[in-house]
Amino acid sequence: MTLLLLFNITNGLIVGAFYVLMALGLSLILNLSNVINFAHGGFLVIGGYIAYTITPYVGFWGALLLAPPLTAIIGLIVERILIRPLYGRDPLYSLLLTFGLAFMIEDGTRFIWGPQGKPVSIPPFLSQPLSNELFFITGYRLFMVVVAMIVVGLLFVLLRYTRLGVRIRAGTLDLETVAALGINVQMLRSLNFAVGIFLAGLSGVLAAGQLGLEPTMGTGLLMPSFIAIIVGGIGSLPGTLVGGLLIGVASGVTAVFFPAASEAVIYVMMAVILLTRPRGLFGEEGMMS
């Protein structure tokens, strides 16, 4: 029983790490540009398939390094052409646009790479279990969590200590003043969008090594990421981090005791949070209205 529980908590943490990577990207874009990026799951899929395509040439490590920035470049192009014209309009339009875009990306990947799942090979030493007792902790799962932790750490360092990061945080609070201080807001939004898509691409590569690739794999991660943001508190990146891990572990633990509710439990958590503390765990008052 303890082993089962431990197994599910570990699982929950790993899934939670994915939610965190996805949700942090979504959160960055939402906070600065007021865009709910429905196509975020689509960018995750693009990242995974790029990794699949370049692995034969550059190997797994090369793909891990190259695929996320390539995804971010695609994200930049999309932002420049499709999303930028909508910044001046009601934020609902960009939400609607990314919703249509998500369909196009999903069908596009199906068209290019086919509807069947694709396996992505990982280095053999990563696929070994670390010990016989804890058979479920393979090297790759540990590796995923470590990579996610490092990247999230770097993201927080970037936001805290670099000029770009400070500008992004300032823009989140008051974009008008930031613009009045002579900072190129368009550029800031583009870079911020690219950072968010980079995270989506990275989760795509990591997920591909664990689960293989399917054109629909991104859609399943989108809703939990929304909930991670709502639970953690809109506007707060540490909140998103905690929210993602929390719902990952919660659904893992529920899977032990009441498997049928393992997906629904995160929605219940969200409802409880909204009832008792509408701004979310770490959110600031008034961010959601």
């Binding site: 646009l97 369909f103 709502i230 209205s289």
Partner: protein
């Protein structure tokens, strides 16, 4: 009397004549009556969503939940409670509308994209309930084993089960009732207040309008209309499906409303017609039909933010 009201009356009469004669002109154009019935039902759903989106300015992205609850309400009534079509519709409407109204109380303080986000998430709760509660809802397979019943007028029976044209006129009758109610509400002082909130929420608040309460009432009414469309949809297919509650279904309704034109009363019906016909046609020639719909939608959002109807009206003016 100026020409404007006369022009409006002519347009209105034309719309209803086109709708009333649909079984006669659909067939020569290569369509079939069942397609027109689907357009009416999905059009009613898109208009219900737009009742909130277009006239209060609040986007709910979880409205499929009320649509789906309406469908299950109607289906379960026919299967377990009573073999009566009108009763099934009323039951579906009540189930979806009451659930929507109760949840609405939690939602009304949110605005803009956050309202959309929270409604999606709550809509998904109902999707999971319908999906997991297999003993009642049939789970993933959907709810089967019920059929719409002939309407009994005492003297004679109106057979809507086997006669597609009769069923179309029955749906058109329900559609007219709902759309009439929507139009009536929008013309009332309450409807004017909704538009005032859309145009300038802060000013409305300063005028002493209880904004939250108005949004809640508009949301609840919209849920009732949506649930009635869902109940009709269950009757169209003699089937209710958990995917009818999924957020992608909500997205389809939003697409219909925005494609048709969300600032106009009839726009969403046009959007639903385009969506259904396109879906019917494209899915017969390519499996990737969603990307074409997605592309069309992206183009509409970028270039015709007022939708197809808005674009046509601008061309006329």
């Amino acid at each position: 009397m100026s020409t404007e009201p006369i022009r409006k009356l002519v347009v209105l009469a034309a719309i209803w004549i086109i709708l009333a004669l649909a079984p006669y002109w659909m067939a020569p154009l290569g369509g079939y009556t069942a397609l027109a019935t689907r357009v009416l039902v999905l059009g009613l759903a898109a208009m219900s969503l737009n009742f909130l989106l277009g006239f209060t300015g609040v986007l709910s992205f979880g409205h499929a939940a009320w649509f789906g609850l309406g469908a299950y309400g109607a289906g379960l009534t026919l299967k377990y409670l009573a073999l009566s079509t009108p009763l099934a519709i009323v039951a579906g409407m009540l189930l979806g509308g009451v659930c929507g109204g109760l949840l609405g109380m939690l939602l009304v303080r949110r605005r803009g994209v956050y309202f959309a986000m929270v409604t999606i998430a709550f809509g998904q709760v109902f999707y999971y309930i319908a999906f997991q509660w297999s003993s009642l809802t049939g789970g993933d397979d959907g709810l089967r084993g019920f059929a719409r019943q002939p309407i009994d007028f005492g003297l004679f029976k109106f057979d809507i089960l086997s006669d597609a044209d009769n069923f179309y006129y029955f749906v058109l009758f329900c559609f007219a009732l709902m759309v009439g109610a929507m139009g009536f509400i929008l013309r009332s002082p309450f409807g004017r207040t909704m538009i005032a909130i859309r145009e300038n929420e802060r000013r409305s608040r300063f005028l002493g309008i209880p904004v939250e309460r108005h949004i809640w009432i508009a949301f609840t009414l919209s849920c009732f209309f949506m649930a009635s469309a869902g109940a009709l949809y269950a009757l169209v297919n003699n089937f209710a499906d958990p995917r009818g509650l999924h957020y992608s279904q909500s997205g389809d309704f939003v697409m219909m409303a925005v494609m048709g034109g969300m600032r106009s009363f009839w726009g969403p019906l046009l959007g639903a017609a385009v969506f259904v016909v396109l879906q019917d046609y494209l899915s017969s020639i390519t499996v990737n039909w969603m990307s074409f719909v997605g592309l069309l939608f992206v183009l509409v959002v970028l270039f015709f933010p007022r939708g197809l109807l808005g674009f046509l009206q601008r061309g006329k003016a």
